[in-house]
Amino acid sequence: MTKTSRRFKLVDTFYIVMMILPLLVGMGIQVLTKPQSDGIALTGARIFFTIPMPIQNFPVTESQINSLLVTVTIFFFCLYMVHGISERAKLKRQLIAEWIVEQVDKLVHENMGGVFRGYAPFIVAMLALSAVSSLSSLIGLFPPTSDINVVGGWAILVFILITYYKFKCGPLYYLKSFTEPVALLAPINFLSEFATPISMSFRHYGNILSGTVISTLLAVALSGLSALVFGWLPGLFGELPWFRLGIPAILSIYFDVFSGCLQAFIFAMLTMMNVAGAYPQEEHEARKQKKLLKKQRKNENKQVA
């Protein structure tokens, strides 16, 4: 018993370490590669190296590295949560895991209906990746969600899903859906089709980036203010930006923590709404039944013949 429990604890420790390690690696990379005298500047993700690719070169930047690290963290978090899971919940973390699963199941069921039950893990992944990516700015990492390409990739995936469900009733029905309610509106409908992923990605990316921008502006402003107030002090006391101690943290509660979680939730909600709304369920089921009837009739005819 003691041997197994010791082994259990060892595995637990391994998972926790593997949860934290990626974030530490990200911080280490940040410390090692960020030039010291960067000053206050708003730039995108820093490029580590570039892979030559057709059409466009693929620059591997902070966002790619950090999103991979976040993925690893979430993966080990999942492993940690379900480690030692049993019917009679012996561990507190099991209750949290159950709570997550049940809540997201409920959310998906309410917003998408029973047909889309399989989307629950996708929504969990999306929520977790988005939220943890945004929150990674708290430990000084470059948040991958403030890169348009990352959020854009997710939005493209959502767009593919939407289009897939719109094509469920055949391409003709898909084309016909553009002429509703009036044929005149077809160009606008066509545009709105592409507006969905763009608006989704820009909303998410813009909110996170705006947090960074405001934080940067605030940092500049507070540096100036402390130079003004404490500039007359001799030596190090005059140089240190005293006002940047603590005050940005209060604002970051909104711009990093709240906004990050909220945007993750909004992105997931929009995904659910759009994907579920794209599926013409009644039409699809009616067509299915028609096909079944046709098949049956054919079989009957064959039998008669």
Binding site: T33, P35, L42, T43, G44, A45, R46, I47, I51, M53, I55, Q56, N57, F58, P59, T61, S63, Q64, S67, L68, T71, I74, F75, C78, L79, M81, V82, I85, S86, E87, Q94, A97, E98, I100, V101, A120, P121, F122, V124, A125, M126, A128, L129, P144, D147, I148, N149, V150, V151, G152, G153, W154, I156, L157, L209
Partner: protein
């Protein structure tokens, strides 16, 4: 070190992010969702089993209770009938005993009466004989006269009968 401009569109980066999300989806599904769902289903099954067991046990207990109650009431009825039959036999026996006792007592009384009658007769006889002998003696002594045996006896018998008739009349 170079950095991207704030807004820059790169297809490969988008593809990378897309694949990253897909991979995380698969990981979450495999390592968080499936174990939890499996556990929940197992728990549901266990709970249903427990409920079924409990219901069965309850039903069994109720039927047992009914059976016991039936048995108990049967036993009570049996006891009642036993007591009744015992009382009946006791009454019959009582009457029998009383009747027997009466009979016995009657028998004893009859015997006693018979005995008494016999004794009386015996006594009568003895007295008769005694009186005869005494009479004879008396007569012989008093009259001093010889008499033949037959006259003598006749005389005494008449005397005794007189006395006996008086006695009978008394009785």
């Amino acid at each position: 070190m170079q950095s991207l401009p704030i807004i820059s569109i790169n297809l490969w980066e988008m593809l990378f992010a897309l694949l990253n999300l897909l991979i995380l989806f698969l990981l979450v599904k495999k390592f968080l969702y499936q174990p939890v769902k499996k556990m929940l289903a197992e728990r549901q099954a266990t709970i249903e089993n427990e409920y079924k067991d409990a219901e069965e046990a309850k039903r069994k207990a109720l039927s047992d209770k009914q059976a016991y109650e039936e048995k108990l009431s049967g036993a009570e009825a049996e006891a009642d009938s036993l007591i009744q039959s015992a009382v009946q036999t006791a009454q019959i026996r009582e009457q029998q005993i009383i009747a027997e006792a009466k009979e016995k007592a009657d028998g004893i009384r009859r015997q006693a009466e018979e005995d008494a009658k016999l004794e009386l007769r015996k006594a009568e006889q003895t007295i008769k004989e005694e009186i005869v002998s005494v009479g004879t003696m008396l007569a012989g002594k008093v009259l001093e006269r010889e008499m033949n045996e037959e006259d003598h006896k006749k005389l005494i018998d008449s005397l005794i009968d007189e006395i006996g008739g008086e006695y009978e009349g008394h009785k």
